[in-house]
Subunit: 189 residues, 4 copies
DNA sequence: AATGAATGAGCTTTCATTCAT
DNA sequence: AATGAATGAAAGCTCATTCAT
């Protein structure tokens, strides 16, 4: 039941928003009464918190695996990170939506922890960029900080438009983004 | 007064969210009573609607000016569009925040119109990309649709992190993003 | 209306208790809707607070007047204080009930202030006792502190049993209590 | 377990109030689950009822012993009754608090019985006063009824201020009260 | 003897909105 | 143009109680 409540919450938070979703809404779908909610969670915010932690922890985990793979180049790591993000939308799209949009409804204490982890995620990408520059895989005349924000924006924004069931699959989009990033879109002779 | 209400609404919607801002909150700052609100606006949603239309219309206007400038290349147009978006954050950052985040609180009728305009904005960029390809300014082996989403993501995401008062000014960020996009981040030869 | 809400609140808090009285209960009697309550008071606790302050302030005021009357002896002052307390029950009985019984529902901040004032009330009586001892009006071999608690108990307890419409009027009860206190109940010679 | 539940209930009812104490609160301390409560008691009110009966019955018992002691004078009986009350606070203080403050939460049926016993307690003291008057131990010009309320108030009020661990022990306070009552506080030549 | 899950009624509070003045 | 009073619907949350296991 606890799991079911969370599943429903994600669904509803993603579609209607945290504030716009009432406990009633969540429990109606599960065909139990409102009171039951409070048997499993102390408050509405606690569900949100659980969702946020689960999401960012999983994301960081899979990211760390990619980064610490000794067999891959930094270019390959970047490619994989982008693919992973796109690929996630299929299974985790709703969670991601909730994560980015409803973050501000957390209490300060949790908000800070979550934001730290979110920043860590960005730092990890930046590390790949920086190491890649050192190893001569990426050009060195662009500030890694801004470059990273660019990459992050490209990938994250896809949550607003990418449809897994659309004509172009995640693998393809990731490949295109990777090419854009690496080679640029300028026509070369 | 009507203008003042809107100004305050933008400020508060941006900082606290649409749902989280009460009419009382808005009018408190203006030192008038809640009732006054309804002399100028029919409902809370109407203010939001006005904000959304104003924002997207201005954005589209300035975008169209850039696109239809006969004197500039498509590469230059792209650069300018990116710069314009970054530059906007300084003066229009709050509006932008409200635009992206609170869109869903519009009634269906207005939501559709707004989304159409938002899509138009994307179409315009895509047009620049497509024409640039035709004219040989951009490479032709990448789908303009996805490329455009990439560009849009890069630029729009800056609303989440770009601080106008930060160390790197909007001109610089725009230049870096432009270089990334055009030339790629790969180390050459 | 604000006054009416308070009047009703006193009535209901006294008869059913603070916790047991719902905002609904209060407003039902006034034939207005629950929402109206919050137009006049920020919270349920605020009404209680107002009641408590009003009560203790009035009580202290009238007490100070008695104490600082230069024309009366300390014995007379003691008599008057006791009478005043008994007399109050008629007009302020409900307030007194609420005061003693519902004090603990105040937030800490207010509770402290109220308790300070309540202690001041006791201190004032003790002062009369002490000064009376110095002036030779009261015997000096009993600790004023405990004596004061005794007096206070006698008088305050009457809130639990004294009925203004009963056979013995407040003047009489005060006189009897005063005699008991001054002369004792022992049969002399 | 049944005893443990009652012990905890007294503690919590005294400190937080009957309404303010949840079954959960009680069982949390005992490290068992809420459901267990209903194995031992039919309802929350039943515990309160048990507390009330236990308290008043014990009190009446010890009072009757004092009253029917053939060896003591009525003055001595009065002294003992007062001492007994003060002395009780140490071991039974919490019970007393609950008794006086939470009485109103009983259902009518039980409330009536409890109030009858409470009145009996007062009647018993009044009997001592009346018999003492007849025997010439107490003055006869004060109505026994009011005198009794005075004595009761003095003694009962100590629940609000008397601290067993304070500087003056129960024996002393009882003695002082007794002296006040018997001899009065007026300075004699 | 004890648990865990669920219920349902009730509570305080918030707030967009209406409207007579 | 603005105020002040009132409404009513809904929200988050608490909790005594029930009951199958």
């Amino acid at each position: 039941m606890k799991g079911a409540i969370m599943e429903q919450s994600i669904e509803l938070f993603a579609n209607k928003g945290f504030k716009e979703t009432s406990i009633q809404d969540i429990m109606d779908v599960l065909n139990v009464t409102k009171g039951t909610f409070y048997y499993y969670y102390k408050s509405k915010e606690e569900v949100l918190m659980d969702i946020q932690y689960q999401y960012i922890n999983r994301l960081l985990d899979s990211q760390e695996k990619i980064i610490h793979d000794e067999e891959t180049s930094y270019q390959e790591k970047l490619h994989e990170i982008i693919f992973k993000l796109l690929n996630d939308i299929e299974k985790e799209g709703l969670r991601a939506k909730v994560f980015f949009r409803e973050m501000r409804h957390l209490t300060n204490e949790h908000l800070n922890q979550i934001m730290e982890k979110r920043d860590q995620f960005k730092e990890n990408i930046q590390l790949v960029v920086e190491e890649g520059i050192k190893k001569g895989e990426f050009r060195s005349d662009l500030p890694p900080n801004i470059v990273t924000f660019g990459i992050l924006g490209m990938a994250n924004w896809s949550y607003f438009w990418f449809k897994p069931e659309g004509p172009i699959p995640d693998v393809e989009v990731a490949k295109i983004f990777y090419k854009m990033l690496l080679e640029g879109i300028e026509k070369k002779e």
